[in-house]
Symmetry: C2
């Protein structure tokens, strides 16, 4: 059995902590038993390890999340979408990768699940059990449903067929055949559905690899990986639920009777954040039930306001009534600001100040923190100059082909068009001041770091 974990989403509902490169699943806001903080993907990966499933798991994601995933999980297997589409293309790409590149048998069961469910460890035992459900039911698709805790209006419901001919519901190996699906019912309707035995759809599907490959052949889509990557942009932007699950004649569903939660909004997320204050902050005077999550250096003082979320990051500051916090998505949905904080494989970049003065002249001050042994790509900017001041640590600077060791207090001016890269010899902090006329992506040229490639590329200029 192979697992495919889908990692997507920009997480605007958790603004300002999440942004284009840092989706909600990467926020380190969950407390482990040992007191350390971890992100949702770190938690799930740890749980997969405990269930013995991590060795068979792949993460399907966009290339913009690849560095973040490596930074948080290490060198895990990933299938990278060349463009963002919907879940059907993403799952098809992962399936073709497993079939064509990894040589996985067409008889193998593939289980697809979100990368960030907040669940008990035994959730993953139930995922592993879907292999057996596929066998026992003979259905081409098996889903997992969560036993509802309350008649929620927010979720999709999986309604079993009335006559459960195929299984003994009192057994923990229970499975049923699916009668129909219902999205976001009213509370009254939800109560009726629950009485019928309906389950919450938690986005977990299992199928034989051959089933999906056959479907791709039938739809005349490529089953050669490189070909699918090349034509990926033309793949239909459609969900797996709509394209596959809802079209299937027979679908089995297996019940998970345990804790499950979507931590996608500040009100649900903060219910799972044990500590009331993360970062530099103070709550006082009747501020019970309130949370401060502060990634800025500045102190936050919260005074006399219960049940609010105050969240601050280099991208902005949110102050919201918890119940109303899901609306933040609408508020920031139209914002198209450049992220002010990015986590990368080599470390992180934080914008300290940014001013556009005059026509297109720009001044930007940033803090670069590098991990020991990592490198900033060797690159050049056509229109902007930079000044780097090393604040702490040691690094090897490559500037127009000349290598130079730098340590705390050293300063280098990088004129426009000069090629530059940095290898961190220890953990390294540097302050970068950019002055220039353009900061667009076209202004950046990346080159291979090592001397040989660089010379050949450099020679071509």
């Amino acid at each position: 059995m192979k697992l495919v974990l889908l990692s997507g989403g920009s997480g605007k509902r958790l603004w300002p902590l999440s942004n284009e490169t840092r989706s909600k699943q990467f926020l380190k806001v969950l407390e482990r038993e040992d007191g350390a903080m971890e992100s949702m993907v770190q938690r799930v990966w740890r749980q997969l390890g405990a269930s013995g499933l991590a060795g068979d798991a792949y993460i399907a994601t966009g290339s913009n999340q690849a560095e973040m995933i490596r930074s948080q999980l290490g060198d895990v297997p990933m299938v990278l979408e060349p463009h963002r589409r919907d879940t059907f293309p993403a799952i098809a790409l992962a399936a073709v990768y497993l079939y064509a590149i990894e040589g996985v048998s067409l008889q193998e069961t593939i289980a697809v699940l979100p990368v960030d469910p907040f669940v008990e460890d035994r959730f993953f035992d139930r995922v592993a059990d879907l292999d057996r459900v596929l066998h026992a039911s003979g259905a081409p698709l098996a889903l997992m449903g969560v036993k509802p805790l309350h008649p929620s209006e927010k979720y999709g419901y999986i309604v079993p067929k009335p006559a459960a001919a195929s299984a003994d519901l009192s057994s923990s190996d229970a499975w049923q055949l699916v009668g129909r699906f219902t999205e976001k019912p009213s509370e009254e309707e939800a109560k009726r559905l629950i009485a019928e035995g309906a389950l919450w759809n938690c986005g977990v599907f299992a199928f034989r690899l051959g089933m999906l490959i056959d479907m791709l052949i039938e739809k005349q889509l490529p089953i050669n990986y490189e070909e699918l990557v090349r034509s990926y942009e033309r793949m239909p932007k459609i969900s797996f639920d709509y394209e596959v699950v809802e079209q299937a004649d027979t679908v089995a569903v297996s019940e998970y009777d345990g804790y499950w939660k979507d931590l996608g909004t500040w009100n649900t997320l903060t219910e799972e954040i044990k500590t009331g204050v993360i970062g530099n902050g103070t709550k006082c005077g009747e501020s019970t039930g309130s949370h401060i999550v502060n990634e800025l250096g500045l102190p936050i003082v919260l005074l006399g306001l219960p049940n609010v979320i105050v969240s601050a990051s280099p991208d902005g500051i949110l102050v919201a009534d918890k119940q109303k916090s899901p609306k933040v998505k609408e508020m920031v949905g139209s914002r198209d600001d450049e992220p002010m904080f990015e986590e990368r494989l080599w470390g992180s970049y934080r914008v300290l100040d940014c001013n556009v003065s005059g026509e297109s002249s720009l001044m930007k001050v940033g803090l670069i923190q590098m991990h020991a042994g990592k490198q900033l790509p060797y690159h050049a900017h056509r229109l902007r100059s930079e000044t780097w001041t090393i604040a702490s640590g040691e690094g090897a600077l490559l500037l127009d082909g000349i290598l130079r060791k730098m340590r705390a207090g050293d300063v280098v001016h990088i004129p426009a068009a000069a090629k530059h890269g940095m290898l961190a010899l220890t953990d390294l902090t540097l302050v970068e001041v950019q002055i220039g006329a353009d900061l667009s992506a076209e202004d950046v040229r990346e080159m291979a770091w090592d001397g040989k490639d660089r010379a050949s590329i450099g020679g071509g200029e």
Copy 2:
């Protein structure tokens, strides 16, 4: 008649906008009729001008506020306390300055008032009228009282003598003799006081200059200005109310029947801030009665919270229920952080980031904005180096005696112990990165900027 305006206070109740160098009276949060923003001192100075009193007004303050006052009001006459004491020494110093330095007649009336009352223009006509009240009443001291609007528990009350023998209260020239003073009564007591005709004490006193000079002689305190400055540290730390007003046999009080407000806390201040959002911010979803005052570049989103104040500055972020906001003083009272934003005569300094790493090694990134024609003092740091990158504008850098013109994009490294200063040829923005082992005041040596003095000082090293 001369006016002495007392400017003091660190304004911790308006944290994070106010700090050690920026007291509440300097915050530009009040909207003028033409839509421009002004501070409380700017408003009062404008009102004094309209009343024809500005030409006779002096500001008594500490030297830490002198630059801020010049920056906001221009070259106004100031009497600078060498140390912070209480109001009696401050008023005594101003009186001795007027007598000994300015040669003001001992018969002249001196009116003392706070630098930041939020009042109607005619308040100042009533201040001017205190000269007449002193004459008419024959009392050595005349106060101004505000006709109470409600039985407040927060203010001091001036209770007139029951038999108002001396004046016709129906006249606008009314004055009475004071019977007694009462501080912060209960609401019930305040109601009884108001029924007796009591007035709120708004901190305005008038007296003949000779009265105070005689008192200083009697108390064996210096009436020579330089001598008083030298011995200022030994002056009693006592208020003028306690030392003079409450000890006086006869005190007259004149009534001001108009708008008067103490804008010292967020709840009272925001009542006078017309616009709900100052700076980069958005209010949405039932946030009526709430205010955002944001001095940071980051956007603030306030969602679904009525009657709160969200205020952000480089010093920190406050989120408070308005009614409870006065408690912020207690919350930040114990904080002794270095101010993260300072307004100076030459411009402003803002800390963008500050990290103490390791034993005493420090990295600090700051943004310096200079006004055209102004200069940063010529100085040196024993233990820290600096890198300056000019972001916009032009300046003349003096570095170890060598003058050099700098413009946007230019970079200079200033090693520890190097003498440096900057003259802004245009408005100038520069980014400063400090690396060093010490940032204490002892690390800084200031020298005269001009060549001659510098050479002689420099030669002595």
